[in-house]
């Protein structure tokens, strides 16, 4: 944050009195009850409105109402914003807001040396210090020596700001977060209009609360403007990022996924029926879709994970787009029913918002360790297409693609996201509806020559023949079916033929998806980093940095995990070394090695958090200096 002595301070043409920053990472941290998520969300909105690129990531406790002041009750919201292309939530913090000792304790290790920490001194009582596990008061000893510390009695300043509204002390102190937000908005030269409007709307029924919060917000801002701040607290400016022209909004991966499913269903001309059972971190998709009834979306909160997928299969059987959504443990329960959908060849979208496993694991922490489950987690030879989203906004496109594949090939499609993507947010250029792909479904209506398993010559997909269509009465089920007629068959040659056609139908999808491209760097060379899913951001930044350092490294990011794009094997063969970073113990790397016989090497991390750019950069540098094949 602080410039070394004798270096000229960069400034922006737009705000010559402010110090120019290229990019900033801020984390708002406090107790669950301190309103940090709202504070972060409002800061994000004001930041988006000035045109910065950004990514946000919330980190809240698993406990619904954790005891106040404890380390496990700390709730945090991180935002990385800048004038450049922002692709991760940020490696290390430039600014930490710690509303109490527990928030400081949990988060201080992520603050970069020299970074700014803002604390509310009023919260650093003996009792709170003890709850957070501090022996002494870190504000008085050398715990914070590596950082710039801004100690403010935010509680007192807030109480003063809102005293005219006659609130109880408890109610008045709830505005501490808005005071802090006001100060941060001043530091970064942001507007307060959107937040003011939001507060007026949110507390429309309690105007005194709205007024108090707005007063606190303004007081925090005025404090920055007028108080004599230590020299290290400088007002800053972050210029707008160069974004493509258009209408923008911020979306989380969950928002984008819900919108993508609705758009995909419209492209196919189908109604959505989501069958789902609550599970972290997948439930927000159920909540999002439940709000979209006006677009004909039916949501069904089933009695369990099995009923959730079964209801979706039933809906697809009857001619809707069946969707089910869960996380790893729930997907495990859905396995048998997924096999039924494979066997009866019905479209179905299965969303897995992956979380740390095995078993219950760490529900609120991200991981990508369900790839092999997605690919192989069924009895029998039961191939399904598997595709993965790489960024929050990519969830929109991937959802549409999942619907296209499911309906065109009459197959369940496994769509992988994870806890990070589900919760992270970034700006999204809103597409024009007319530009969206269209792939209307044609149900079979002609009884002439109809058999339930007669296949399309090219796609090998069977007809979608739905109940209610005269003359198409037929029976399907999980028992092996005779080729064409669909009657039950135990004939050995028929089972071979049916297994082969099920495999081939899915394998052929490789011809109908884009060729694998290289995200950055040359198409042949010394080293390729091959990623999938939410590692996209950190891998992109690390490869970008390494290339600027002159290292011969390329980035390949795989969206289609089954089947792989047709050229992927040949492409990997063009590199001396292939490094596969994954938030698991080594899954894609195993599939790449077994599929293409390439000497791919894993780089694995399962700490419930995304890769840091630094970790990847170090791995790239190490392999660059080693040279040759491993």
């Amino acid at each position: 944050m602080t410039a070394p002595p004798n270096t000229p301070v960069p400034t922006s043409a737009a705000a010559p009195d402010r110090v120019l920053s290229e990019e900033v990472v801020i984390r708002f941290a406090g107790d669950s009850g301190d309103g940090m998520q709202l504070t972060g969300t409002q800061f994000t909105l004001e930041t988006a409105l000035v045109g910065n690129d950004l990514i946000t990531f919330p980190d809240y406790p698993a406990e619904i109402r954790a005891p106040a002041g404890t380390t496990f009750g700390v709730s945090a919201f991180q935002i990385h914003f800048g004038a450049t292309d922002i692709k991760t939530a940020g490696d290390e913090l430039n600014v930490l807001i710690a509303m109490n000792p527990a928030a400081l304790k949990v988060n201080i290790k992520d603050l970069g040396t020299g970074g700014l920490v803002v604390v509310d001194t009023a919260a650093f009582t003996d009792r709170n210090l003890a709850k957070a596990g501090f022996d002494g008061n870190p504000l008085d000893d050398d715990t914070l020596a590596p950082y710039q510390v801004l100690k403010l009695d935010i509680a007192r300043l807030t109480l003063e700001a809102v005293k005219e509204f006659g609130l109880s002390q408890k109610e008045a102190l709830r505005s501490r977060n808005m005071w802090t937000l006001g100060l941060m908005l001043w530091i970064y030269g942001r507007d307060r209009k959107a937040t003011t409007a939001w507060l007026e709307k949110k507390f429309a029924n309690r105007p005194e609360i709205a007024k108090a919060n707005i007063a606190a917000l303004n007081a925090g801002h005025a404090f920055g403007e007028t108080a004599e701040m230590p020299a290290f607290v400088q007002s800053r400016v972050v210029d707008p990022a160069e974004l493509a022209p258009g209408v923008y909004r911020t979306v989380t991966g969950t928002d984008a996924l819900a919108l993508g499913l609705v758009a995909g269903a419209q492209s196919a001309g189908l109604a959505i029926m989501l069958g789902s059972y609550p599970i972290t971190p997948a439930s927000p998709l159920l909540h999002s879709l439940a709000k979209l009834k006006e677009l004909g979306v039916i949501t069904f909160q089933a009695e369990d994970e099995i009923a959730a997928i079964c209801s979706a299969i039933g809906a697809s059987y009857a001619g809707a787009l069946g969707v089910t959504s869960s996380s790893g443990p729930g997907i495990a329960l859905k396995g048998e029913a997924l096999g039924l959908a494979v066997s009866v060849e019905l479209p179905l979208i299965v969303v897995n918002s992956q979380r740390a496993g095995p078993s219950t694991g760490m529900p609120t922490k991200t991981e990508q360790s369900d790839l092999l489950q997605a690919m192989y987690g069924r009895n029998g030879d039961a191939p399904v297409p598997v595709i993965a989203a790489s960024t929050p906004t990519d969830c929109f496109d991937v959802a549409i693609e999942a619907v296209r594949l499911a309906t065109k090939y009459m197959t369940p499609v496994m769509l992988l996201t994870d806890g990070y993507l589900a919760n992270a947010a970034e700006p999204w250029r809103v597409p024009n509806v007319v530009d969206l792909p269209r792939f209307p479904v044609r149900f079979r209506t002609d009884p002439e020559g109809f058999h339930p398993f007669v296949r399309h010559e090219e796609t090998l997909a069977r007809w979608w023949a739905i109940p209610g269509t005269p003359g198409l009465e037929h029976r399907v089920g999980g028992l092996e079916k005779a080729y064409d007629s669909g009657h039950i068959s135990y004939d050995p040659a028929n089972h071979q033929r049916m297994t082969d056609v099920r495999t081939k139908r899915i394998a052929n999808i490789a011809r109908d998806i884009p060729a694998q491209r290289v995200e950055q760097g040359p198409e042949r060379g010394h080293l390729a980093l091959v990623g999938w899913g939410s590692t996209f951001g950190p891998v992109y930044q690390a490869v970008n940095q390494a290339r600027r350092e002159g290292i011969d490294v390329s980035q390949i990011h795989v969206r289609y995990l089954h089947p792989f794009p047709e050229n992927l094997g040949a492409l990997l063969g063009q590199f001396d070394r292939v490094l596969v970073p994954e938030m698991n113990a080594g899954q894609l790397v195993q599939v790449l090695r077994s599929t293409f016989l390439v000497p791919a090497e894993g780089l694995n991390k399962v700490e419930g958090k995304p890769f840091k750019i630094r970790e990847l950069l170090e791995a790239i540098r190490a392999r660059a200096s080693e040279g040759g094949s491993p």
């Binding site: 006006e294 039933g314 059987y317 009465e473």
Partner: protein, 341 residues
């Protein structure tokens, strides 16, 4: 197999497929198949709008033998799949064909929820008190002491009563029938079909191979009259060869007792009159067991309420009307937006 709908009313035969029926000779399932085909013809069902959904087990083979739409799914899950079918297209006429193992063991949870939600489907549970397809293990309805390959010394499980379960789950139509008593069976199936909401029909079905004569103590023709009471709405609960036996409420113990008309001053006024809207009475009837009591068959309970899928679609329509049918473009641009030039 696939023919166009003829203009003339369909006959039971029109609902038969060309598939060879593969139940054991003498199986009670044949009688149930026949009764359903007769029911479909009598209610004027259309082939294309009728869907049979089943799970796994002998009963679950049913869809292959009815020339309608049919979905033979996975063990225990037919109620969940049927719920999805009805949500996607409430106009379809959906039957769930299940057994005691499929419906009350592996699928017990789904049975509970399809009933409490009141999805408008007909659930036909073939109760033979045994696992047939897996060759004779005891089932959740087998009586204590049932000897089977998995209980060589006899089962020590307490059985579940399907009808009592359905009532407890909040089912709003609960009926019983016997496979071989075609007349009552078809009547019960027609009533189940006419019922708006989830209807649950338990059929006592004889498994001739693994559990023959399991229900003989009340179905054997020689003694059936004295050991069955047919519940008919508005009629006294009388039974026996000459209808001289009846059910009376013992008010002190809140239980039913069997009385004989003309004995100890008992007259017809003492005998309970069946009220199919009375859940308490239905529960008392469902719990009667031979030999001390007759087995209650017929429509034990029928008290319709709004079916689940209708409530769901009504909500959908109300929101659509309020928000002018929604618009994808507006939705995509929802929330706070800004323009980059």
């Amino acid at each position: 197999m696939t023919t166009t709908t003829p203009p003339v009313p369909l006959t039971p035969k029109d609902f038969a497929t060309d598939q060879e029926v593969r139940w054991c000779p003498g199986c009670g399932d044949y009688a149930i198949l026949k009764a359903i085909q007769k029911t479909l013809a009598e209610i004027g069902a259309s082939r294309e709008n009728t869907v049979f959904v089943s799970g796994i087990g002998c009963a679950a083979r049913f869809p292959y033998y009815a020339d309608t739409f049919g979905f033979h799914t996975i063990h225990g899950r037919a109620p969940a799949i049927a719920t999805g079918v009805k949500l996607a297209n409430p106009d379809l006429d959906v039957w769930v064909m299940t057994g005691d193992g499929d419906g009350l063991s592996i699928g017990g949870n789904h049975m509970l929820h399809v009933l409490r939600r009141n999805v408008n489907v007909q659930i036909v549970l073939f109760n033979n008190e045994i696992y047939g397809l897996t060759k004779g293990q005891y089932s959740p309805t087998s009586p204590r002491g049932q000897r089977s390959p998995s209980t060589p010394q006899g089962s020590v499980d307490n059985p579940v009563s399907p009808a009592a379960f359905a009532l407890g789950a909040g089912g709003r139509f609960v009926a019983r029938a016997v496979d071989t008593q075609q007349k009552e069976l078809v009547e019960v199936l027609k009533r189940a079909h006419a019922h708006d909401g989830a209807s649950f029909v338990e059929i006592f079905q004889n498994c001739i191979v693994f559990n023959d004569a399991a229900f003989a103590e009340f179905t054997d023709r020689k003694i059936a009259a004295d050991n069955q009471v047919l519940a008919e709405h508005g009629k006294p609960l009388l039974f026996g060869e000459d209808k001289r036996l009846g059910l009376r409420l013992d008010r002190r113990s809140l239980s039913l007792e069997v009385v004989t008309l003309g004995e100890d001053g008992v007259g017809e006024d003492d005998v309970l009159v069946h009220d199919e809207r009375n859940r308490v009475l239905a529960s008392l009837l469902a719990q009667l067991e031979p030999p001390a009591f007759p087995m209650a068959i017929g429509v034990l309970y029928c008290d319709p309420a709004e079916p689940y899928e209708r409530a769901v679609h009504n909500q959908l329509s109300a929101v659509k009307a309020k928000r002018q049918n929604g618009d994808l473009a507006a939705l995509l641009k929802g929330g706070r937006t800004w323009i980059v030039k």
